[in-house]
Amino acid sequence: MEMVFDLIQYGFMQRALISAIAISVICSIVGLFLVLKRHSLFGDALAHVAFGGISLGLFIGVYPLWTAYIVAILSAVGVNKLRESTKIPPDSSIAVLLTSGLAIGVILISISGGFTLNLFSILFGNILLVSNDDLIMILITDAIVIPVIYILYKKLVLIIFDENQAKVSGLNVTWINTLFIILASITVIASIRLVGVLLISSLIVIPNITALMLGKGFKKTLFISCAMSVFSVVFGIVISYYSNLAPSGTIVLTLVSMFLITVIAKNMKIRFNKIVVTK
């Protein structure tokens, strides 16, 4: 704990920790719905599209995150419409989204002969470089995503549980799905700063599959996922600072460690219960 207090004296670390916590919370919330919809890799695909969007912004000389937002939202909504109208399996439509985003990015980079910006930080993130403007953007994203999900919470749960039942309950399922995809898109763009394009799925998927093994009830699962995610980003950042490692790597490995510990503990509990029953 003392290590954390030492760290928060630095302005860059304050920004890093606040933005990391803000990002981890929305990734967990949006992620639980994506995981249960079997769209676990949707975040990954959106991040790759965002990579294309960032490249486009740099290519045409516009602030890259704005183009990333626009391209990611339009692509996500477009692919969702494509999936609905053609009945393409969700994982296949995600593959289309992922590869096309990356392809656009690669082409734009090759046309321009390579950008001067640090491509490494887009691919792997660097939370320690978060500026005040980035922090404001991340907090605004939280201020949009959390209240909207709170309002739509029960409707989203019902849609995931059974889309037809949601329709019969009078819900405009298409509209709610579209709105959710937009929220997922802006969450992913905001999160690129933390873990980068290549590791974004970890924040969306790992805390949620871990929480699903522990939680009894939707709200409790959501709470456990958020708590694990927040712990992982804070722990990961502290470890990365003191051991001079990439923060995205330490964050993801913390998440993976928590997942593995949960799997082992769960299996041990099942074996122990079996032994008790047979005795």
């Binding site: 019969v168 009078g170 009894k216 009830g217």
Partner: protein, 261 residues
């Protein structure tokens, strides 16, 4: 008194293949209508049209006097139990949380949720994950979810498929209680002719066309009609599998008017 459901000349096509062919019938307040028909007869499609899930049908469907295309608010008066599909064990929502989803758009009333759970005899399971329950219990959770909004009409699409016979009997007792004690109008599709004969006050036999619609005893008490229906269903089944649709349509014996042959 106007019917609760009025289906007039309903047709629905998947690509160019008819799934429902000019079907007309009505459901009155307090009816317990059993809809029977073989696999692929269009029972689920019929329900999906009635509930506004499928909208590209031809013909008219009125619920409580309003066209389903024009007024979807009527759906709030309907409880729907879809064809059984097992819930993943990892799905985190508890029984109580699932039942509360039936109150979307209304003020959450904890008492109503608890009494719906008690009504389906799952009080001891309210805090369990739905995925941890047996399939029969999961179906009862869906019923509780449908009941919590106190519907005037309950639509159930083959709700007991794949459920063991003891759980089925419990389920049938529950349906009878809902219809007799609570006065809920029930429309229920099933393969179980014995159960339909015992429970339903009215019967509709469909196989893309409507073969019969009327009082239960007029169907099950008329051996000739039952025999014709079995032949009709078998012929239809053959057509479905061997692509004899044209011959079937051209055969005047197959032009059914809804009162049986």
């Amino acid at each position: 008194m106007q019917p609760i459901i009025k289906v007039a000349n309903l047709s629905y096509y998947y690509d160019s293949i008819p799934s429902l062919d000019h079907i007309s019938f009505t459901v009155e307040n307090g009816d317990f209508l059993g809809i029977i028909g073989p696999n692929g007869a269009g029972k689920t499609t019929l329900f999906q049209c009635m509930l506004g899930i499928l909208n590209d049908f031809s013909g008219e469907i009125n619920l409580f006097g309003f066209g389903i295309r024009q007024n979807k608010k009527m759906l709030r008066r309907i409880g729907y139990v879809p064809q059984k599909k097992s819930v993943e064990q990892a799905f985190p929502a508890t029984v109580s949380e699932i039942v509360s989803l039936g109150m979307i758009g209304r003020k959450i009333n904890r008492e109503s949720i608890d009494s719906a759970i008690e009504f389906v005899e799952l009080g001891a399971y309210r805090n369990k994950r739905i995925g941890e329950l047996s399939e029969g219990q999961q179906q009862r959770v869906i019923i509780a979810k449908a009941l919590v909004k106190q519907p005037d009409l309950l639509i159930l699409d083959e709700p007991t498929t794949g459920i063991d016979s003891a759980a089925q009997q419990k389920f049938y007792d529950l349906l009878t209680k809902l219809n007799k004690d609570k006065g809920i109008t029930i429309v229920w599709s099933s393969h179980d002719m014995n159960a339909v004969e015992k429970l339903a006050s009215k019967v509709a036999c469909i196989d893309r066309k409507l073969f019969f619609h009327g009082e239960s005893e007029d169907f099950f008490g008329n051996e000739e009609r039952m025999k014709s229906y079995v032949e009709f269903a078998m012929q239809s089944h053959m057509n479905l599998h061997f692509g004899n649709e044209k011959n079937r349509a051209d055969n005047p014996e197959n032009n059914i008017d809804g009162n049986g042959i």
